[in-house]
């Protein structure tokens, strides 16, 4: 791993320490720029829009029939009956359904794009069990045609994660699903970073075959603990530097370490954990690991066995992101049940999410959630569409640290909206119009709003 000297990232702070006794001459304070690749996302052309007479699933557990949704300045303004707004573009949505924009917390679009070619296989830095220093955003190919396909399925926000070969796979990035020639142009403004971790079979298989740690699950745990112990020291060193500097001393800044910056970001509460972790016993240990090193163990992805420890997940504030029916491809995916999401969701203070991990099913997260709802209702649950929609909207937003911005249709939230031709939990449901921040980004019946990747342009 490359070490960067402190001088590379320096930001001058005012040294106007008037009133302080300065015992020694202070050098410029070393401050780490936490946002060196900032979002340049711009809202697409938008106008005040009023959608009339729809069945609205708000994402807060409420269903409103014959309701109107008003979007003003890129925000949800009002939801109610018989709304009107001067100069608003009106959409008659009689017979149609409206939901918040769909959010996928687990995608590899752009880092494992279509076409699947070696040149663009950039999702898994399989060179060391701890690659906390890599950032998925540096791999994103914005021309992945999968973004367009996902948009046609109502996806407005998605987290792009590194793969799961490593104990620490690197940082994930949350994107707005809008076309842009750059990653920065898609980057969700002010979204927290995620850190991808992985339990179980993948890391131990990849590194075990190279005869390096980890080759076992206990090796996995040792790998995490050693890294967090080091990160704890790194955090302490920076805190000491900051406090010494504040006390008027002229300390030497710790040597900058890009890998440990990310782990420190987790310990500081700035970066959220997204942990590929299938099995009940491993999730339980990852929760304790978070407690051991003072961070929240975050969201468990592909949590096939979450239903076995649903109470514990809710008690510890963990989200679980799950498939409705994938199973059997690995031993850790053997104990799938169709009702997993519903069982997790049934516990108070739970956070159940349906995710894709697929360029294909990301286009139908509505159907994926629907499968869970119907199977659960056949087996003793009573889940309504207004609840099921939260698995792919509000709960997903919570997992990504964006609950204050998107994931529900509430006054003041970003106007991320999907108009469906019918109940979105039907196999025949299709997104007709998709809005991101109040701007129409997709229209099934208007080619003007159907973006096409550079890659597909001009292909015969």
């Amino acid at each position: 791993m490359q070490k960067f000297l402190p001088s590379l990232v320096m930001a001058a702070l005012s040294v106007a320490l008037t009133g302080c006794l300065q015992s020694e001459q202070q050098d410029e304070k070393v401050v780490i720029n936490k946002n060196p690749y900032p979002s340049t996302y711009q809202v697409l052309p938008q106008q005040t829009t009023l959608i009339k007479n729809a069945t609205v699933l708000t994402g807060t557990g409420t269903r409103m029939d014959n309701a109107d949704v008003l979007m003003v300045d890129g925000k949800i303004s009002k939801i109610g009956k018989n709304l009107s707004a001067d100069g608003a573009a009106e959409i008659d949505a009689n017979g149609k359904w409206i939901t918040p924009g769909i959010i996928d917390v687990h995608s590899h679009l752009g880092v494992y794009p279509s076409p699947s070619v070696e040149s663009h296989s950039d999702g898994n830095e399989m060179t060391s069990p701890n690659t906390s220093e890599v950032w998925a955003e540096h791999s994103v190919w914005p021309q992945d045609p999968g973004f367009e396909a996902a948009r046609a399925g109502g996806i407005t926000t998605l987290q792009i994660l590194p793969g799961s070969a490593n104990l620490f796979g690197g940082r994930g990035v949350t994107l707005r699903n809008v076309p842009s020639p750059t990653m920065q142009g898609m980057k969700f403004p002010d979204a927290p970073y995620g850190l991808k971790m992985a339990c179980g079979e993948n890391p131990k298989r990849v590194y075990g075959s190279r005869k390096v740690l980890p080759s076992t699950r206990m090796g996995n745990m040792a790998g995490y603990r050693m890294a967090w112990a080091e990160a704890t020291e790194y955090k302490r060193a920076w805190e000491k530097y900051d406090s010494d500097y504040a006390a008027g001393k002229n300390p030497t800044a710790p040597v900058r370490d890009i890998e440990l910056d990310t782990l420190k970001g987790v310990l500081d509460g700035d970066i959220l954990i997204h942990n590929h972790c299938y099995k009940a016993e491993e999730m339980a240990m990852m929760i304790d690991l978070g407690k051991e090193f003072n961070y929240n163990s975050g969201t468990f992805h592909h949590a096939i066995e979450a239903y076995k420890i649903a109470d514990s997940l809710a008690e510890n504030g963990n989200c679980a992101a799950m498939w409705p029916d994938w199973w059997g491809f690995k031993m850790e995916a053997y104990d799938m049940v169709h009702e997993n999401v519903a069982i997790v969701d049934a516990v108070k203070n739970s956070c159940a999410i349906v995710h894709s991990d697929s360029a294909n099913t990301i286009q139908r997260l509505n159907q994926e959630a629907g499968k869970v709802m119907y199977r659960a209702n056949e087996n003793g649950f009573d889940i309504a569409p207004e609840l099921a929609i939260t698995w792919i909207t509000a709960n997903a937003a919570k997992s990504l640290g964006l609950a204050d911005k998107t994931g529900s249709l509430e006054s003041g939230k970003n106007a991320d909206v999907v108009i469906w031709n019918q109940n979105p939990f039907s196999v025949y449901a299709q997104a007709e119009q998709v809005f991101v921040d109040g701007a129409k980004v997709f229209d099934r019946f208007d080619e003007k709003y159907q973006a096409k990747s550079d890659f597909l342009l001009g292909q015969k």
Binding site: V117, N360, G380
Partner: protein, 417 residues
């Protein structure tokens, strides 16, 4: 969808009422909306009589059967047919000793049916999707010929392999090493050489009556392709590869089935004219490679519209086979007609692979599914499923796990069975 009514009542009563029906006895399903997937179309309030595993009567004047099941107007379809997957050959994908679909040394003679495990947990699970039989395709090895398909039912019985070695699987198209040209060239050469050898042998046989030397096992399989005993089932996506295969079919009078065929829409008319069925995944709509730049959710509908007989398959992991009906539903949402969608998971699969199922007609194998409602909808489920006239459950290991973990118990869940 409005013509599919959901009957919530008496599902359990129905299940109890017919549990006595067994293989040897005859039974009648009455008052069903029968989707025959034949020229007869959909029959309302219809009766289907089953005996000895076969459909023996449809709407007879008088019902003579040991048992009668009132379908209460619900939809009865032929059992759905999976294809081109590894059902019964893989229990857990990443557990090497539970996999039997591939072998580095496999060649054109590879018969994976010898490894078929009817007790795989994937089988009862797949019955949830109304799948009653399946064309299993081996994955083979280094050879371009991946082995031979076989047909198994989903009864879970030890005798569930119906036909072994029925077709030859070949993998063509883009190569990560080397050129696609060489495979096409080798295929052509092998067919040509075999044709010549057969002609020569015939000539020789007529000249002197000495017993001809028996051809090698590999040659016998190639000969079976040439004389139409076996179909050539070819994975290929790019239009040029599909055209090359159509040409081979013409030259050697092959029985050809195209699989994948992502860019088939570019040459749909030619495929239709050659009467070659296409086995495709309805949901593959991304340009996964330079061979599949025209993949689209609309392709199943477009190909059907062009006159191609389309069979749908769930590509990728075999554990997802039960989703076949949802794939058909999505194809409908993207332009395939309802009747064509049903054919694409029943009769068209049967026709492509020469199976005696996939239709509700007199004399056909009684692989049948009674649905709670619209078979393609996420909200429906299998009410009853019969395989060779015998009723089976859709209960799987997944249900046992769910019941265990949703039960209340003071003791650890391990005591709940």
């Amino acid at each position: 969808m409005t013509n599919f009514k959901l009957f919530k009542t008496s599902l359990i009563a129905l299940a109890l009422a017919s549990s006595t029906a067994s293989f040897a006895e005859s039974f009648a399903i009455t008052n069903a909306t029968v989707h025959t997937v034949t020229d007869q179309g959909v029959l309302e309030n219809a009766t289907v009589v089953i005996e000895n595993g076969k459909v023996i009567a449809i709407n007879p004047e008088k019902i003579t059967a040991d048992n009668t099941i009132d379908a209460q107007g619900r939809i009865l379809t032929p059992g759905f047919i999976g294809s081109m997957n590894q059902l019964g050959l893989v229990e857990v994908g990443a557990v090497s000793r539970s996999r039997d679909a591939a072998d580095k040394k496999a060649d054109i003679t590879f018969d994976a049916s010898l490894a078929f495990n009817p007790r795989s947990t994937v089988i009862p699970y797949s019955r949830k999707g109304g799948i009653t039989s399946n064309v299993v395709a081996p994955r083979g090895g280094d050879d371009m010929f991946k082995g031979q398909t076989f047909v198994a039912d989903l009864s879970g019985e030890f005798n569930s392999v119906r036909v072994s070695n029925n077709n030859v699987v070949i993998d063509l198209g883009a190569k990560s090493k080397g050129s696609r040209a060489l495979s096409l060239q080798h295929l052509h050469q092998q067919l040509e050489d075999a044709t010549k050898a057969l002609a020569k042998a015939k000539k020789k046989n007529t000249k002197d009556k000495k017993e001809a030397k028996e051809p090698s096992r590999k040659a016998q399989v190639i000969n079976a392709l040439l004389n139409g005993d076996k179909a050539l089932v070819a994975y290929a996506d790019r239009a040029t590869d599909l055209l090359a295969l159509l040409k081979l079919k013409e030259t050697f009078s092959l029985d050809l089935v195209l699989v994948g065929a992502a860019d088939a829409v570019l040459v749909a008319d030619k495929i239709a004219a050659a009467k070659v069925p296409v086995v495709m995944a309805a949901l593959d709509n991304l340009p996964g490679s330079f061979d599949s730049l025209h993949a689209s959710l609309e392709n199943a509908g477009k190909l059907t519209q062009a006159g191609v007989k389309v069979a749908l398959t769930v590509d990728g992991d075999t554990h997802n086979l039960y989703q076949l009906r949802f794939h058909a539903g999505n194809a409908i949402a993207n332009g395939l007609t309802r009747s064509a969608a049903l054919a694409s998971v029943t009769a068209n699969v049967a026709d492509a692979f020469n199976l005696d199922s996939g239709k509700i007609a007199i004399g056909k194998t009684a692989d049948l599914v009674l649905w709670s409602a619209d078979p393609f909808e996420l909200s429906s489920k299998v009410s009853k499923i019969w395989i060779s006239g015998k009723e089976y459950s859709t209960e799987s290991r997944q249900d046992a796990l769910r019941d265990r973990y949703t039960s209340k118990s003071d003791m650890p869940k391990a005591y709940v069975k």
